[in-house]
Symmetry: C2
Subunit: 206 residues, 2 copies
DNA sequence: CCTTGCGTTTACCGACTGGTCAACTAGACT
DNA sequence: AGTCTAGTTGACCAGTCGGTAAACGCAAGG
């Protein structure tokens, strides 16, 4: 029952709830501390500053997201189609849950923060990019498994396709956040199926 | 040589340059006015406040974007493939030009602002959504033309496909902004071709 | 008992935020 | 000349920003 990390964890929890549904710039340390039940000064005992607090929070979120959403869905039962359906379902559930809890639909925190802070906080942007790269790598692993299983053409450029997958997923989550409607994810999900499960012509047509 | 609208236009120009490459929250009226060469108080003679200034600026940007990029590309010569290539090329050129001029790659201003202000400024978000809806409608018109011309299957659900097109485009521009690299657009553009120019299965497989 | 040091508290800082306001200028109209 | 008004100006406002620092509480260890 070490109280040492209680405040630290409370700060990260508060930061997560606020920064996901609002934005980096519009969340102040005053709001974070109030929500965490911690005095302002204490924040600076655990973190050098706001930027580091947010980076640590999203680092934890990425770890959680990988372990609880990405891995289970993309390594789950069935073929690529079933795994993608599980993936979309898990994302949708998470977004809907956040919207119910916080009143706001977060979209993809890594993408949103990378965009917002891309021109202001290089450290934060690099951290987000790292997470996006890691997610893309897991997409690719799922595609490689589908190739190995014969579901996708052996000549499939899985790196390229994973790149497209991530871009489309970011677009879907951006639209969902813009519309503040979790069902947008379900509405656009078929695009993912179309992109990943149809045979692609080899380069440009003559 | 009416000086009446000089300040107003200067404010909008400055706002465009700043808000596209940074973000709504991180741009202050002080910076806008300094860049526009206008005193702070004058801003409030032309606009009720920052929010209205930004809305007006993006309204003008949308008009310009439609007239100079969207319409020429999507109604240009050739079939859907050529028009899409022109569209991608125009977007890429615009992003690269902005990056050269401002040092920052903007991505899609409407999408970025819709995401950032979605939870804070309902008016701004609704304005951005309106622009996104209008863009989507123009995508659909281009797809309808392709159907009429026999390039796409007559059974194609063009509304749905335009929806997917916009989502993917937003994702591509988000990735480009996150990476601050215009070539990301060219790298991901083939996904658009794959999404729009391959035959799609009618719904889910049995 | 007394020190050590982690965690906490609180008052405070300068910089900056968007926005207000009354005074002022200059050109157009009477 | 006198008036009117669109436009301009700079001082000013209350509030918030992220961050600092000194003092304090308190449990562990000598």
């Amino acid at each position: 029952m070490n109280t040492t990390d209680n405040s630290r964890q409370a700060l990260m929890d508060a930061t997560r709830g606020l920064v996901l549904t609002r934005s980096y710039g519009s969340v102040g340390i005053a709001g974070i501390c109030e929500r965490a039940g911690v005095r302002r000064g204490s924040l600076y005992h655990f973190f050098p500053g706001k930027e580091d607090l947010v980076i640590a929070t999203l680092e934890a979120l990425y770890t959680e997201f990988t372990a609880e959403v990405l891995e289970p869905a993309l390594r789950g039962p069935g073929g690529l189609r079933e795994r993608m359906a599980a993936f979309v379902g898990a994302i949708h559930a998470f977004q809907a849950r956040m919207q119910a809890a916080e009143g706001r639909l977060p979209g993809c925190p890594f993408g949103s923060l990378a965009v917002e802070t891309g021109t202001q906080s290089p450290r934060l942007r690099e951290a987000m990019q790292g997470h996006l790269d890691a997610i893309r790598a897991q997409f690719r692993a799922a595609l490689d498994a589908a190739v190995a299983h014969g579901e996708l053409d052996a000549r499939t450029d899985t790196a390229r396709l994973a790149d497209h997958w991530l871009a489309l997923m970011e677009g879907i989550l951006l639209m969902a956040r813009a519309e503040q409607d979790a069902d947008t994810i379900l509405r656009l999900a078929p695009a993912l199926q179309d992109l990943l499960l149809t045979t692609h012509p080899d380069g440009d047509a003559p």
